[in-house]
């Protein structure tokens, strides 16, 4: 190597959007992320519909016949297909018997396993919270999002605004995971649909507030937990 490259700086797919929208960008843990949007910095989250870009998450995909064993190791118990479970490492979404996505930092013992692939950057995450979150989503998907059909800790993969999305239902918010190449379309569709509900963008510094504002308790079925 002749030249000495600058330290790698990771960027999510929505950084440019945040920059154009006047968001405050900072480098955190090697990622350039939007920490705040000045106009929503002091927003009372419980009363507003908010959306947040959480694309700077570590993501691991588990696949193959050993998926079940790895999921048990991460969560402490099995997680049914179409559900998610919480472990110390993060959230485990079970897509099929042989496929699961882990959002969070897993230890090296998992990463070194041949059944695991680091797909960080391959899933962009949007957090949607607020009293009208389900109404906003209903403008973009025909899926039945009622608690009866999609209870807390349920996941569903399908089109939202025409974009293949993994939708996760938490006690106080929804998470939408999509491929980074199309997440800008999803983000803009959400903001457009949310316009009637005064949906506002908040920065990552509010992440802790957003994901706990509705309560981070367990799943109503027990076992598979929220956050």
């Amino acid at each position: 190597m002749i030249s000495s490259p600058s330290p790698p700086l990771a960027r999510g797919p929505l950084v440019a959007w945040h920059r154009h929208a006047g968001g405050q960008l900072e480098t955190v843990g090697g990622w350039e992320i939007c920490t705040s949007h000045p106009e929503t910095a002091g927003l009372v989250l419980a009363e507003h519909n908010v959306v947040l870009d959480w694309s700077h998450r570590a993501v691991i995909e588990l696949g193959g016949p050993r998926t079940g064993d790895l999921v048990k190791g991460l969560v402490g118990s099995d997680v049914a297909v179409g559900r998610m479970g919480a472990g110390r490492a993060g959230i485990v979404c079970r897509l099929t018997p042989g496929r699961a996505i882990v959002f969070g930092n897993v230890g090296p013992q998992v990463l070194d396993d041949t059944a695991a692939v680091d797909v960080t950057g391959g899933w962009a995450t949007i957090v949607l919270a607020g009293p009208d979150a389900i109404n906003i989503l209903s403008l973009l998907t025909s899926a039945d999002l009622r608690t009866r059909s999609m209870p807390v800790a349920a996941i569903r993969q399908g089109p939202i605004a025409g974009i293949n999305t993994l939708l996760c239902h938490f006690a106080g918010h929804w998470e939408l995971h999509a491929c980074p190449d199309s997440v800008l379309s999803l983000w803009e569709a959400l903001l457009d649909a949310g316009d009637a509900y005064r949906l506002q963008v908040v920065g990552a510094e509010r992440l802790g507030d957003v994901v706990t504002v509705g309560g981070g308790g367990g799943d109503d079925d027990g076992g598979e937990a929220d956050r």
Partner: protein
Amino acid sequence: MSSSVEAVTFTFDGQSVTAGPGQTIAGALHEDGVHVLSRSFKYHRPRGLFCATGRCPNCLCTVDGAPNVRTCVTEATEGAIVRSQNAWPSLRFDMLSILDRLHRFMPVGFYYRVMHKPRFLWPVFESIVRRIAGLGRVDRESGGSRRYDRQTLHSDVVVIGGGWAGLHAAIEASERGRDVTLVEERAKLGGYLQDDPALQVELGDRFESTIQRVLEDPRIRVLLRSTAFGCYEDRLVAVQSGDRMIRLRADGVVIATGGWEQPLVFPGNDRPGVMLASGVQRMMWQDGCQFSGDAVVVTDNPGGYLVAHALAAAGTNIVAVVDHNETPSTDPRGLPVRTGQTLYSVRGRRHVTAAVVGPIEGPTSAGEVLGCNWVVQAAGFTTASGLLAQAGCRLVYDESRDLYRADQLVEGYRSAGSVNGTFDVDACAREGRLAGEVAAAGSGGGAIEVSPAERPRASRRLPEGKKAFVCLCEDVTEGDLFDAVADGFSNIETLKRYSTVCMGPCQGKMCQAGSIAACARANGATISETGRTTARPPDQPVPLGVLAGRAPHRHLCRLTALHDWHIEAGAVFMDSGAWKRPESYGDASAEYQAVRDGVGLIDVSTLGKLELCGPDVAEFLEFVYPNRFAKLPIGKVRYGVICDESGIIIDDGTIARLEEDRWFVTTTTGNAEGVDSWFRWWLATRPDWDIRLTNISGATAAMNLAGPLSREVLERVCDGDLSTESMPYLAARQMEVAGVGAILLRIGFVGELGYEIHVPTHLAEHVWSELMSAGAAAGIRPFGVEAQRRLRLDKQHLLAGQDTDALSSPLDAGLPWIVKLDKPDFVGREALKRASGREPGQQLVGFRLEGKQVPPEPSLVLVDGRLEGRVTSARYSPVAGATVGLAWVPAELSENGREVSIQIDGQLVNAVVQREPFYDPDGARLKS
């Protein structure tokens, strides 16, 4: 939309009009003395408020650029611009009303018979007809500014209709623990009771408390100002709510849509001033309108007396209540009643001036003329059963009620209230409760029992005459229908199609009963024998924008992680499927030359990327590719095509063996999901295979550093040994590039020394920028898809999907070497084996044209004037000094040096087939 709390001002044909709080446009115009709101479809007759419930076409206007708005149910908004329709030069003086006097030359169906010959004149006729007959015109200037939405809601029970029956159905279902969605087209709940203060008094507190109970029930979602216009399979109900279409899915549907008052058919029945009683009631109680002057009320039921009393109380002089019955339908309480009589006709042109009345069976010439401003008709209701019919429920004619109603419901549906022909409020409430109970249980269907008819209907036989309109929408008179039946269109369905009755904006709500009666009379048949026409969605007219919705998926585009860099660099983008890719950065020729002479960098993140791990991957790849992979050494990459069972190419790409059991596969742009699914499909057939397949297309970005100086540039940001000895052509390595872990493939799609570099998506911009910096001294240029296509054509590298199609096999596409028929099995083997034994068909070959003329794709390949093939790709090649390309030609024309002709802009240009690449045929530069 919410009701305004203050008076608003809008304009009607340029004149300023003030509307009270919450008042409709038509109500405000009525109060302002504007009684002609539109001109009729065909004869341009003046039309005014008629039904005042959003059914008939008389009040349709263009509001803020939106045509055909029902102004009788549309609240006025501040600054709204309302224009009349179908009148020239103005609504008041419409020159085209001359057509009313020429009606004898325009009998029913005349345009089917007189405008076809000579044929070349039909477009002229059509243009004229379209100009002078019709409704509003789409405002193309402002039409695109409206926003439409589409929403999907789910509910245990959907109740359509917020009248007395619907309210009770919703309450019952809610009390049984079900989530209910109540759809009501008015701004308030209560249905027609809202227009009937006498009934409200009779109900006492029950009326308001029931409404309040529903509004406060957390289990009941109330959609006001929302119209259900369609019932589809699996209890899908389509609802228009303002500019939003709501798709409601439910376990049970209760239809409590009530009924519509039916107009009488008599000469002059369309004159402004002739109104339905329900419309008058609604205008009085909801819009605060007054009907000053004299009124004649025609009726056969107590409803006529109700409206007459209300009008009288409001100051209208009731000239007469004309009752079809021999004894008054109810206590007249001082009203001047004429029993056993009917209306013969009305007089007046722009507004009613008199009504001619007389005995039902008497000669019309002996009618008595009663001067009046208003003729109010209360001749009973028919059921609003369109949604029931759409759902598949069977409708029968109920002679005792003189209306069609459902007698057999389909699974999941219940009906209640006036839609069953039940008009007594207590009976409506009972039916509503029962329907709510059944719907809450998730059942429904079967035969329906309705409350007994309250009383038989009196004869509605009226005198015949000219200009007695059955269909106000299409200007179809009773005489027209008789003529149509005489022409042979005696079946109600063919009568409808021939005469266009029931085909206008009201969709039969105002005219179906009348047309059935006319058809029955003309045929000498009963109503029951005559039948009815088919009800289809939409039950109410719906703007096309509402049906289209916002459709966000139409705007879906896929962007690579380097998209913003490309924008900064001035890229000109092109669509490649849903992807936005840089076509060039302004000068594709310079980009081409940079790659040939120096170094270039292209974003190829759109490639699909799959990772396969496990001990059985090699066996799997042997099965899904026609070529061999079992012995591919670690650190090597190989080209492969994927064929389907028919041996047809469905994709191509590279397959690299990174470790003993870890493989990296690339696919074409836009086909990652397809190949992923294809692989998973075949993996499912062999559950014993120990393979983990991960689609890492989104997680991995890719860039191709290409050109004779590419190694030199890469070495600046990479610690690995990149020499040819250590990393030869078709080598695959894992090493750090600019401090980022990467997969490097030494391949050369563009025909030069090159490296395909795959890095994590979130670090792609960093790597790209470092490479551009490292290459600055070497004159590196980013290059786009256009330069890439020129470069690959020099090498005759095909693009799957561009140069191949649904008939292309590798045997024909110049890739016979890739098919290893000696393998025991692989997908497509049998088909390819059979094909290999046959005479070769079309072949994909290179060709060279002299000069710079470039044939567009797909230009025709001809030999001796015969069509022999087609061009799939062509570009001018500076290194070849000629236009080069790929084309499909028959095998006998595929030998090297064969001359063919290619048609360009109608001219034949000579071309020569060339099987070897146009550039670096030995691959020396690739392997350097």
